[in-house]
Amino acid sequence: MSLLYPLFLAGIAAVSLPILLHMIRRHTRKRVTFSSLMFLRPTLPRFRSRSRLEHVPLLILRCLVLCLLAFAFARPFLARPAASGAAAPSQRTVLLIDTSASMRRTGMWDRVLDEARSVLRDTGPADRLCVMRFDRGARTVIGFEQWETMNPAQRASLVTQELSRVSPGWGGTDLGQALITAAEAIEDDETNDAGQARAARQVVLVSDLQQGSRLEALRAYEWPQGLQLVVRTIPSQGATNAALQLVTKRDSLAPAQAQELPEIRVTNSGEAARDHFELRWAGGDATSETASPPLDVYVAAGHSTVVPAPARPQRQNAVRLVLAGDEDDFDNVLYVLPNLAQQVNVLYVGSDDPNDTAGMLYYLRQAFGTGQALTSHIVHRPASGVLDAQDIDTAHLIVVTDALDQRNIAPLRRYLEAGQSLLLALKSADAGAALSALAGAGPSESQEAEVDLYAMLGRLEFDHPLLKPFSDPRFGDFTRIHFWKYRRIEAADYPGARVLARYENDDPAWLEIPVGKGALLVWTSGWQPSDSDLALSSKFVPLLYGTLEYGGTLPSRQSQYFIGDAVPLPTRAFSQAAGLQVRKPDGAIVRVGAGGQAFTETDLPGVYSIADLGSPGGIVKPEGLGDGRVAGVPPALRGHDARDRSSGDAAPRNLPSFAVNLPVAESRTDPLPVEELEKLGVLLKPTAGAVSAAAQRAAHHRSFSEMESRQKLWRWVLAATFVVLLIETWLGGWLTRPSPMPEGDQP
């Protein structure tokens, strides 16, 4: 019999109280009537001598009550010998293995496997084990149920075999979420396996415990009571780890400067022993030879610096910036594609003089000025002539302002039906014929509207994607745009037409008429100053760019992606039925079905290339690195380059490639103090080697506490106390019952 809190036995000293009380004369309940108290003075109670203790059985019972109470508070328990071997209580264990990119460091994975084998050795046949791996998220390698179905004798070897197939990936480390997943797995297993609900439980974390680990998820999670975390840290062999990061340009629409180099942030670890590194360009794959002279970078330990990347070699497909000089090279490569400037081909079909500053073409050219992310190429063709098929094919946007030659109608309709957009601005009433032809509607009339001084836009459909950017009240004021002239058409003449904007008198101003997969956008007025103020207003350029984006030409403006990011895919402009193919850096091809909005399998750093399966040939070019196009045509390299397609019938239609890099936080490999986990409420189990005497005592106390809480002997002691108390009450009542002839009150 042992006691959890033996200090409470000091309460036994309280038995002196009843003894003392029993020694005091207590006849206060006896009353003696007396004629007068005028000659009496109160006297203090006197103590009886020890031999004169009254009601000894009662005294014994009262002392016994106090002793039992003190004993109950001392929490007695039957100490059983320390469990050993097969007698040990079964426990649930989740082996949580870090497979983030930082575990790719030299020698680390082998030690992870060693630790895993050690855990397997310590696992008894009655234990339940679950093996999980985690980087950005946790995945189960061996579940509890699978473990249970294994032959106990072969479990270790089977799990080791399974683990040998696992290797660290390239993802970041979301340690918080992984710990929560592990804890929930244990709780779920306890729920499913209620028979062993009381077994000990623990999570064994095998990780480098780097500072870049994300722990935010733990802040909103209450760590289960009694669930212990065993941390088996895998220390890094090297202390110096430098990392690369592409510094994002904030102003992507700023005019592109020639020869502008990307800026690179080089970060050095806090415990680094070196501070001198080299930065150089390398080819598209790791086997490529060094492609450029190195750039020396000096970064003090724990600091970072931003340097312009060295000049990109012109004749090589250099997309990899490689850092040299540190000890861990898993994060030494940064994939930087050449400037993402995209060429946009606009085919203008109209009778304008390009040099006429009052013409529509002039303002169109001004609107599509070259920005950093966009390079425009405007082709002007007269409306009266026959359009070149190549011009139509390569155009991202066709703008028609005049009546068309009949021979041009069919190719333009095909263009529309393929899913492209065509903007028809009715510069004159004659252009209404082109509208009827392109829309495929019957002959309809358009006539010059009678405008009293000017017309204004009265109602706009801001929920349309084209006008959505203006839905904010700050940008939605179109009243300053005056329309001096416009052409009146009937929207009802065109089936499916949707009026995007109307004049004040309800005449349609802007319409969208679906033609096949594409959209025919009709503006009933020109934007030149003789027709309206539109070209001079701030809305003009956003409207044109919106038209481009509506056609799917401008897919996304995110400058860089990291492992695990979802990359949005261009959808509208390409073959919806066939879908897309994405070629990963390792050559694997991922097919994205029709309707797929984003590509999520970005699990490798490198350059991913997208191909349109609906295009002729349908062959995906591997990231566009090996065919020379990348290096040869730098500005348009990543745009979907239809001119390549024109060079051969079987050429695939390549879409923009994108580079995926390692998450920046993964490079923060300095060890994370394990106390950080404790601060977030995680119960840590001290490792056997580092247990101090105090911790050992605490551990013993915990085990005793568990033992005591299982046995709960105090309940029985308390019950015995109540029984004794009842006997005492009865005996006390019996002894002090009123006697018929009290003797003490008569002299």
Binding site: R25, H27, T28, R29, K30, R31, V32, T33, F34, S35, S36, L37, M38, F39, L40, R41, P42, T43, L44, P45, R46, E743, G744, D745, Q746, P747
Partner: protein
């Protein structure tokens, strides 16, 4: 006057051993009249005298003149016939008016034995009344606690005695003893001088007692105080500690008698001494009675005291002055 020392139980036991009537036995007699008669037997002729000179209307006997007899009572006719001096004796009608003041406060109900102080005092009063009646004195009765409860004016008729004795049989039901108001009221009521016998336990403060007794003395009355106390009150020989409750106020007090006895007796003695001193100062006859004291002894003490008082009176008045017509054994 009696010894102011507290009488002990052994003393009272010795009194019983002398063949006197045991009060315990006496109190077993239910009839108050019989009790009184039993005590008074043997004291047929008192030795006390009336402070007033009475006159006789009814002849009883002749007696030969002795020196000191009042010559006014000589029967000259007998002298003429026989030439001898004879005194003509008459059945006296006295003017003595005696008031028995009986304390019926609740403290008088205390009894450590078979009877209470009130019962003892009642019997004592009955004895005195009977005795005085037999001597032809008019006896009245007043019972009181903090005010007068019963009042019977002095009469000298046999039927009146019975009524008086019946009144004495009532048990005390009063509250606290407060001599002041009733005595003050009585002093106002009693216009004619007479004898006042106060029977009480006098459990009140000395200062008040002196003032209250002064009311009676101021009227020129002849005041006799019978201070009646229970033997337990005198000795306080309790053994067990207990909560002692004041029978009048209901106040509780934890008292260990073995500790408190000495102090109690000391305070009681002081109280008795001061009471006696007060009575002495007011020329009051004071008699302390324990309730186990035989009544005949009490009566004897009373009569002896009265005799001493007569002598005192005689000394004050001078030889031959103030004596009534009664014989040697006749005094009121």
């Amino acid at each position: 006057m009696n010894d102011p020392k507290i009488p002990s139980r052994s003393t009272t036991g010795a009194n019983r051993a002398e063949g006197l009537i045991d009060p315990v036995a006496l109190m077993k007699i239910k009839s108050m009249e019989l009790r009184a008669k039993a005590v008074v037997e043997g004291f047929w002729k008192g030795i006390h005298r009336s402070p007033y000179h009475g006159f006789s209307v009814e002849f009883t006997e002749y007696r030969q003149y002795a020196f000191g007899d009042d010559p006014r009572y000589l029967d000259w006719r007998v002298y003429a016939r026989s030439d001898r001096f004879y005194i003509k004796k008459f059945e006296d009608e006295t003017n003595l008016r005696c008031h028995l003041l009986l304390d019926h406060s609740r403290s008088m109900g205390y009894a450590s034995g078979a009877y209470s102080k009130a019962q003892y005092a009642g019997t004592l009063a009955a004895t005195l009344a009977y005795f005085l009646f037999t001597q032809g004195d008019a006896v009245g009765l007043a019972t009181f606690d903090d005010q007068i409860r019963e009042y019977l004016p002095p009469r000298n008729r046999a039927s009146y005695l019975r009524r008086l004795l019946l009144t004495l049989e009532t048990q005390p039901a009063g509250r606290a003893t407060s001599l002041g108001p009733p005595l003050q009221r009585l002093a106002g009521m009693l216009t004619r001088r007479g004898m006042i016998v106060l029977i009480s336990d006098l459990l009140t403060s000395i200062e008040r007692l002196e003032r209250d007794l002064g009311y009676l003395c101021a009227g020129g009355h002849d005041v006799v105080v019978f201070h009646v106390l229970d033997p337990a009150e005198l000795s306080f020989d309790f053994t067990a500690p207990a909560l002692f409750q004041d029978v009048e106020t209901g106040r509780d007090l934890y008292v260990d008698p073995t500790v408190a006895q000495k102090n109690y007796r000391q305070l009681l003695e002081e109280h008795l001494a001061r009471t006696r001193s007060v009575c002495q100062g007011l020329a009051i006859d004071y008699h302390l009675f324990a309730t186990d004291r035989p009544f005949d002894l009490a009566l004897l003490d009373f009569l002896q005291d009265r005799m001493h008082r007569r002598k005192r009176v005689k000394r004050i008045r001078g030889p031959g002055a103030g004596l009534g017509s009664g014989g040697a054994g006749r005094a009121v």
